[in-house]
Symmetry: C2
Subunit: 230 residues, 2 copies
DNA sequence: AAATGTTTTAGACGCATGTTTCAATCGCCC
DNA sequence: GGGCGATTGAAACATGCGTCTAAAACATTT
């Protein structure tokens, strides 16, 4: 028999605890989550392990949040920037990133990462406030850069803020209010809201609102509301 | 001395408990809220009052949610419908209603009503799931009616859903992510986001996206992104 | 094989929670 | 004024929580 058969071999219990804690915290929140349930889901038979590996429950929570913050979103924001593309295409790239990395559960990463982060963003706790702030800032700064380039110079900073909230709000709503959306359209249709569909819709909606053409970086638009089938 | 001077005269302790419970539940959530803090904030010196007037903590929570659901939003949705106005004006009326009654704290009603409702909508609990569902349904049905009239007939139902989520998402984001917004623009600027400002921006943004004119119920639009100061 | 540092186990601890109990008090009607 | 239901008061209850302690089991090195 292979020597890595017994349960606690390669996958250190510390990492299993972090994984399980992330899931439970994301589902139930800090207070409703119990260390006993976390240990049970991690397959750890004793609850003292949390105090052994992590100091206490609060530190465990902060650690899971730190882990979730190390998302691939960061690297994408920094590296894969399409510098040469038209402004409308940059906006599509940004919206696609938000939808793919935050809104929808990606196959590469477990879904509790962004669930937990959203929880901290909508209801910040003293424990993870800082972490969540440092997570969300670069997102808006990236969007600002794109919008500054896309819009006329005389657009006020306040208007720019409102526009960015309109765009980010559209994206985030599909994660934050996913229970409401499921209620309205049913689980079946919600499953058809994949990354491509949402990105296409929100980009189209926003570009028309801003008068951005999809081909060049001009500021005039061509309208005509034909949604059609998809 | 007047006979209604003592603290527990006209304002029944039951109502003070409901009010206090609503505030605490809205701020901290069901689990983090304690009956002792609720009683303290209500000025009730003994904690058994909660089990006396309301059966238990869960029922108290459901009762506060029921109270919050009886919002003036309902009456407005049913009665003050501007039937004769242009479709763009109907959309502005709807957005204005959402912003005023849900997003911003109105003077007429305490702010915990919608705080609590948003909490239940974003993270539904078995206790209040039904109440929250019955609250949000009419909102979307009203928006559907407006959009159906405003958009061409060949717009698919799925597209209509996506559009409605784009509009509602823009509005709700200012309540759900108000901590993020405060972080981004600062508390000072956030205070300038009054009902009029938000309604105007979201209406303009959405009407342009849909190609709706602001005067007639036509489907052509006139663009030119001039934000300017407000 | 012995020693040493690391991890796991079992159990108990103190504390805060929601709930219950029962007596005391108040308001009101006959 | 006495009787009586409704309300309030104070204390105690059981339970579940996060944390701690100390010994056992394990792994690794000497």
């Amino acid at each position: 028999m292979p020597d890595d058969l017994h349960s606690s071999s390669a996958d250190a219990t510390q990492q299993r605890l972090l994984q399980a804690a992330g899931e439970v915290f994301a589902e139930k929140g800090f207070h409703a989550a119990t260390v006993r349930e976390i240990c049970a889901r991690a397959g750890v038979h004793n609850i003292a392990a949390i105090n052994y590996y992590f100091r206490d429950k609060e530190n465990l929570y902060a650690e899971t949040l730190r882990f979730a913050a190390r998302s691939p979103l960061y690297e994408n924001l920094a590296s894969e920037w399409p510098t040469s593309a038209a402004t409308a295409e940059k906006l599509r790239w940004f919206i696609g990133l938000l939808v793919e990395k935050i809104v929808l559960a990606s196959r590469e990463r477990p879904l509790w990462h962004m669930q937990l982060m959203m929880r901290e963003l909508t209801q910040p706790s003293p424990i993870g406030e800082r972490i969540a702030q440092e997570f969300i800032r670069p997102v808006y700064e990236t969007l600002w850069t794109i919008l500054r380039e896309a819009l006329p110079r005389d657009v006020s900073e306040k208007k720019l803020h409102l526009i960015s909230f309109s765009i980010v709000g559209q994206c985030m709503y599909h994660r934050i209010a996913r229970h409401v959306i499921r209620l309205i359209v049913g689980e079946q249709e919600q499953n058809t809201y994949d990354a491509k569909t949402l990105t296409e819709h929100i980009t189209e909606f926003s570009c028309r609102a801003l008068g951005l053409d999809r081909k060049k970086s001009g500021s005039k638009s061509q309208v005509g509301t034909r949604g059609g089938k998809r």
